[in-house]
Each structure stands twice: as structure tokens, then as C-alpha cells.
């Protein structure tokens, strides 16, 4: 493999770390609350702007990132409180229209507060290292490490902990779970908070490398939605893996053809996949789909 291929692979994985974290949170909310949180991308962007504000106050990169994660969790809770909890017994369209509305409010609040210019939060670490002809920025390496830790933590909680088992039970059949004393609503709200924190982490990592604009959430949520659908609705870790694959396709595919053609091929491939396997590659873990 030549140096350019290795560079593209590294860049794709670093981008995929951000996409994967976003998709992980998006799928978590689907799996745990049956909620399609269309404000998820805007939560990530808003959290990134919190880090931008932290940088303006001379907070270092790590502190600003911590602030973004906390902001993401709070915003996730807010989305749950405003768009999911009061509407969860209404037709599902009501919850996701409400989430879209919250996302638009966030976008415009960011534009009013920060303006429309692209912004970058303080980097957790600047510079990088050359390994052979491949440049690896410290920020990208931190993104990869943070994503790996988050993926393992979510997997461990879901697979090994009592809370994770309860979450899965609540997701499979909320009524039976509630009858067994599982606090279904509380667990769903917890899932929103964790999803928001993951979005916050994704937002700050992506913005540090690719900059933030108030409208960037639309692109993020599209990637997360495609990943969730391609992996199989509600499949958490496969959704994150699909998001990483999307990022790799964007970077490596662009080298093979061009950016414009790679983007077209990505979505053409998605349509083809849905034609042959509408349930996604892994089948649906959650039976409802928007």
C-alpha cells in the first residue's frame, strides 16, 4: 500500500471516528426509546459551539471538550423532555417533527449567537507526527482513541451491566418491562443523555478537524440516518461501524473517482442496498422505522 493510500485510510478512520460516535448515539436513542432524534446532528454542532465558546474564554482543548460533552448530555435531556416524553404516545411522526423543530431552533440560535462563519474549537493537541510519508495529527489520533473507548464503554454497558440489560429489555417490549418493575421512561431518558454526550464528543472532535457551522447538523444527521438504516434499524454497534464505512468511502472513494462521483455512488449504493435488503445488512433489531 502506498503512502497516499495509507494517508487516506488514516484520514478516513479519523473522520469515521466522529461519524461513528454520532451514529452510536443516534442508534442508542432508537434502540432504547424508539425515538428518531432528528435533532441529534444539531446537538453535536451546538456542543461544538459550546467548546468554541470555551476556547474564547481561554479554556484549553480538553476542558472545552469536557464542556461540550456535558452540554451534549444536557441538550440530549432537553430533546427528550421537549420532543419525546410529552409525545411518545402520539404517532411517531409527532416526535420526529418536534425533534426537527428543536434542531432548527438550535441552528438559528447558533447563527444569532456566533454568526455564520466556520469556527473551530480549541484543539486538544496541536501538531502531529509523520510516520513515513503519512501525517497523523494528534487531534486525529485522539479522535480515534476517544471513539474506541466510547464504543467499548457502550458495548460493555449494554452487554454486561444490569442497566444495559434493563435497557435492552425496555427496548424489546416496554410494557412487559414496565410490568416487571423496570423504569422504562427513566432508562429512555438516560439513553437520550448518553446519546447527547456522544453527540457532544463527536461534535467537538469533528469541528476541531473539519470546522463547525450552524447548519452542519443536517449533514451529520443524514450520515447517521444512512448508517442506522444500512446497518439494520436499532443495531447500535453495527450502526457505528456503518458510519465508519461511510467515512472511508468518502475519503478513499474520492481518490478512486472524485468527490462528486464518490458522493453520488455512496447514495446510489444505499438505494441499491435498500432495494435488496430493506431491513438493512443486519436486519432490524427494532421493528419500527420512520
Amino acid at each position: 500500500m502506498d503512502a497516499l493510500s495509507l494517508q487516506l485510510l488514516f484520514n478516513g478512520l479519523a473522520l469515521g471516528a466522529g461519524y461513528g460516535l454520532l451514529a452510536l448515539g443516534f442508534a442508542l436513542a432508537i434502540r432504547s426509546a424508539g425515538a428518531i432524534n432528528f435533532a441529534h446532528g444539531d446537538v453535536a454542532v451546538a456542543a461544538a459551539y459550546v467548546a468554541v465558546a470555551g476556547g474564547a474564554l481561554d479554556l484549553g482543548g480538553p476542558a472545552a471538550a469536557g464542556l461540550a460533552i456535558a452540554a451534549g448530555a444536557i441538550l440530549g435531556l432537553s430533546v427528550a423532555g421537549l420532543s419525546w416524553a410529552p409525545l411518545r404516545n402520539r404517532p411517531i411522526e409527532a416526535t420526529f417533527i418536534a425533534a426537527i423543530a428543536i434542531g432548527i431552533v438550535l441552528q438559528n440560535a447558533l447563527t444569532a449567537s456566533f454568526g455564520g462563519a466556520p469556527q473551530a474549537p480549541a484543539q486538544i493537541a496541536s501538531g502531529g507526527v509523520h510516520i513515513g510519508a503519512v501525517f497523523m495529527s494528534w487531534q486525529a489520533l485522539i479522535s480515534l482513541a476517544a471513539a474506541a473507548i466510547a464504543f467499548m464503554a457502550v458495548w460493555a454497558v449494554l452487554a454486561k451491566s444490569q442497566t444495559g440489560r434493563r435497557m435492552r429489555a425496555a427496548a424489546e417490549d416496554p410494557e412487559i418491562a414496565a410490568a416487571h418493575g423496570i423504569p422504562v421512561i427513566r432508562l429512555a431518558i438516560l439513553a437520550f443523555a448518553v446519546a447527547g454526550a456522544l453527540a457532544g464528543l463527536a461534535g467537538v472532535l469533528l469541528a476541531a478537524q473539519h470546522y463547525a457551522t450552524p447548519g452542519a447538523g443536517a449533514d451529520y444527521i443524514l450520515k447517521a440516518y444512512v448508517a442506522a438504516t444500512a446497518a439494520g434499524w436499532g443495531r447500535i454497534l453495527p450502526t457505528a461501524a456503518a458510519a465508519i464505512a461511510i467515512a472511508l468511502f468518502e475519503t478513499v472513494g474520492a481518490a478512486l473517482v472524485s468527490h462528486a462521483v464518490a458522493e453520488a455512488l455512496l447514495y446510489a449504493g444505499f438505494v441499491a442496498l435498500l432495494s435488496f435488503r430493506p431491513q438493512g445488512l443486519g436486519g432490524e433489531a427494532k421493528g419500527k422505522r420512520a
Binding site: L8, G12, P118, Q209, H210, G215, V252, A255
Partner: protein, 375 residues
């Protein structure tokens, strides 16, 4: 005293108001701008430039009615109709976004309202409308400067072009290629990238592999910063001449100064880089009023409103008067002298700014005048 001096210089330099008699009722001028959405940066600059011009008009001569068009053509149409609810204004300032201006053009013609715009979309002034007046140099002008600086000053012989796939990008790309051809240069690599592209490594690497000796960018602000940063990280030791997005202080602020070494950009003007004269006076007033750095869009809108004020001063009272005044006048604005080429293109000059790698501040390296031959 300082304020008074500033004001005096500004008035003298723009020539807004010589002999302007204050009227009892201010003339309301609708200012349509994409305040929200993906062009909020440019829309905000547009709004600020118009408001500063109204401030400097003084005496309640003009009142700006700022309306957000977002980025949807349908919203711009709706806002346009709302602006006409209380009767025809003598003129209005249109949104910077080309697709919105194209949607408004037939309405402006149907209503007979002159629309002053800073949109660069070439087609706007090529459709024979008597009501469109463009105060930002179009691609015909700035891409001539872009190509000439690359070829004549930097001696680039085998450039690569990376451009945005949007209408903005395609229009600039076509003009850039045409101007390079006039100079006897053919690009060795060209690629369009969507604004959502997060990694430009492959395009940069292909440009290098094609033997490029210079990189010409025509991208929006975020992608421009990304391309400059990734070229630096790849160790590409090529001169970069970017589109006007790179002259914006907000774009430069995304990069370490070292990454900007040898990076240049074309623009209609660069008020933040002016070190004296009317441009500096405008920049200081803008900073004081809005606590941010001005860009070429803000200055172009300021000059557009200034020329409109001058037209009203000269006795124009209704759309027909304003249309005739704009078509006949030469107006010495802050950025340049404006006069129509017969199709509503009012701006014909451009500048090149470059960064030295030591700070985020650009300096004006070259000024071009009458690039489209309009004297």
C-alpha cells in the same frame, strides 16, 4: 474629536452627501439578506454594511428595513413581496445568494424596482434586466485577477484548480479556466468538490501527481481553510491562490499563521487589510460599530447603499429616477469607482491579498483596475 475626524474623513471619502438636503420622512430601503442559513456569514456582512451606510447617511435620510431571506429562493420571493406591501420603494438591496437573486429578477422587472446586489452570479447581469445593479465584481472581473496574478506574477505554468460544485463554484471555475486560456495556460488538474466534503487529501494529492506548480482554489470559507491546512500537512510546497473566501478574516482565523505562508487570495476589496485611506477609515468604523473585522461583502454593500443615497440626493424619488441615476452616474465609493457597463455590472476592480505566515493579517499585494475594460 476622534469621532468627528473619522466622520469627516468618511463623508469626504465617499462623497455621499454633498448638498444632500435632509427630508422630513426617511426613505425606507428594504435590505434583503440571508441572515440565517449557510450564507449567514456573508448575509451578516451584507446587513452590517448597509446599516453602517445608513448610519453615515445621517439626518434620517434613509431607513433600512432588514429582512432575512434565509437561503431558499421561495423565502426570498416571499420577503420581496412583503417589502412591497406598503408601496414601491425607490429601490431595494437584494440578497447575496445568486439563486435567490435569479428568483427575484423577474419580480423586480414586473414591479419595475431597481435591485442593488452584491451577488457574483454571472448570469444575473446577462439576462437583459434594466433593474439589476451589481456592486461586487463578478467572476469575469475577479477571476481575471486570480488568473493574471498566478500566471504573470507567480509564473505558474501548470496550475491545478479545485472548485466547489455549487453554482458559485462552477461559475468561478469556468471564468478561471477561460482567463487562464487567454494567458496561454491550461490547468493540469481540475476537480469539483461538494461543500460537504470533509477531506480534500485526494484532490490535493492528484493535483500534485499531475505536476501542478500552483494551486488555484475557488471554494467557500470552510473548505478553503481545509484545503490550505491539508496542503500544509501533506507538505505540498506549492503557491496557493484562493478565491475571495480566503480574504475573509474569519477564514484565516481557522488556520495557524504558519499554514498561511505563501497563500494569496483574490477579492473585490479587502478593507481589513487596508492600512490607510478611505478603506482604513471604513474598517475602523465597522470595527467600532460591530466589533468584528469587515470583509469585501460588507464594503460592497456599504458602497451600494452609498450610491443609492447619492442617487436620492441628486433628486431621485421613485424607481424610475433611481434606475436612471444608477445607469448614468459614476460613484466614487470606498472600494472603487462604480459605473455600469450597460448591463448593470457596476464593479470592475479587484485586489490580491497575501499572507506572510507570521500573522492572520493579510496585506494587499496587487490592485487591478478595469479588468473587464470598463473605464
Amino acid at each position: 474629536m476622534r469621532k468627528l475626524t473619522l466622520w469627516t474623513v468618511c463623508v469626504l471619502s465617499t462623497g455621499f452627501f454633498t448638498g444632500f438636503a435632509a427630508s422630513a420622512e426617511p426613505v425606507t430601503v428594504p435590505v434583503l439578506a440571508p441572515i440565517t442559513g449557510f450564507l449567514a456569514l456573508e448575509g451578516g456582512a451584507q446587513r452590517n454594511g448597509a446599516l453602517l451606510a445608513v448610519d453615515h447617511a445621517g439626518d434620517g435620510i434613509i431607513k433600512a428595513d432588514v429582512q432575512d431571506t434565509t437561503t431558499a429562493p421561495a423565502v426570498a420571493v416571499s420577503v420581496f413581496r412583503r417589502a412591497l406591501r406598503d408601496g414601491l420603494p425607490p429601490a431595494m438591496l437584494g440578497p447575496i445568494l445568486g439563486s435567490q437573486m435569479l428568483a427575484l429578477l423577474p419580480l423586480a422587472d414586473a414591479e419595475g424596482v431597481p435591485v442593488l446586489t452584491i451577488s457574483g452570479t454571472a448570469k444575473l447581469t446577462a439576462m437583459g434586466s434594466p433593474n439589476i445593479f451589481r456592486f461586487f465584481p463578478g467572476d469575469v472581473v475577479v477571476k481575471a485577477a486570480h488568473a493574471r496574478y498566478a500566471v504573470e506574477d507567480l509564473r505558474i505554468k501548470t496550475p491545478a484548480i479545485i472548485f466547489q460544485t455549487t453554482a458559485y463554484g462552477q461559475s468561478g471555475h469556468a471564468e478561471l479556466v477561460a482567463n487562464l486560456k487567454k494567458l496561454g495556460v491550461t490547468p493540469v488538474y481540475e476537480e469539483g468538490v461538494p461543500p460537504s466534503a470533509k477531506d480534500l487529501t485526494s484532490a490535493l494529492a492528484k493535483a500534485r501527481a499531475a505536476g501542478a506548480d500552483g494551486l488555484l482554489l475557488h471554494l467557500h470559507g470552510g473548505p478553503t481553510a481545509l484545503a490550505v491546512r491539508q496542503a500544509f500537512e501533506l507538505g505540498m510546497d506549492l503557491p496557493i491562490i484562493a478565491g475571495s473566501a480566503m480574504h475573509q478574516p474569519t477564514t484565516a482565523a481557522l488556520l495557524d499563521p504558519a499554514m498561511l505562508k505563501g497563500v494569496c487570495a483574490e477579492s473585490g476589496s479587502a478593507p481589513a487589510a487596508e492600512i490607510d485611506g478611505p478603506g482604513k477609515t471604513f474598517a475602523d468604523a465597522y470595527r467600532a460599530r460591530f466589533n468584528q473585522e469587515p470583509d469585501a461583502f460588507a464594503l460592497a454593500e456599504y458602497d451600494a447603499m452609498g450610491m443609492l443615497a447619492a442617487a436620492l440626493k441628486s433628486g431621485a424619488k421613485n424607481p424610475a429616477d433611481v434606475r436612471k441615476a444608477l445607469a448614468d452616474m459614476r460613484y466614487k465609493g470606498v472600494a472603487m469607482t462604480y459605473r455600469t457597463n450597460g448591463r448593470g455590472d457596476m464593479a470592475h476592480d479587484a485586489v490580491i491579498v497575501c499572507y506572510d505566515g507570521a500573522s492572520h493579517r493579510a496585506r494587499i499585494t496587487k490592485r487591478y483596475q478595469s479588468l473587464d475594460g470598463v473605464q
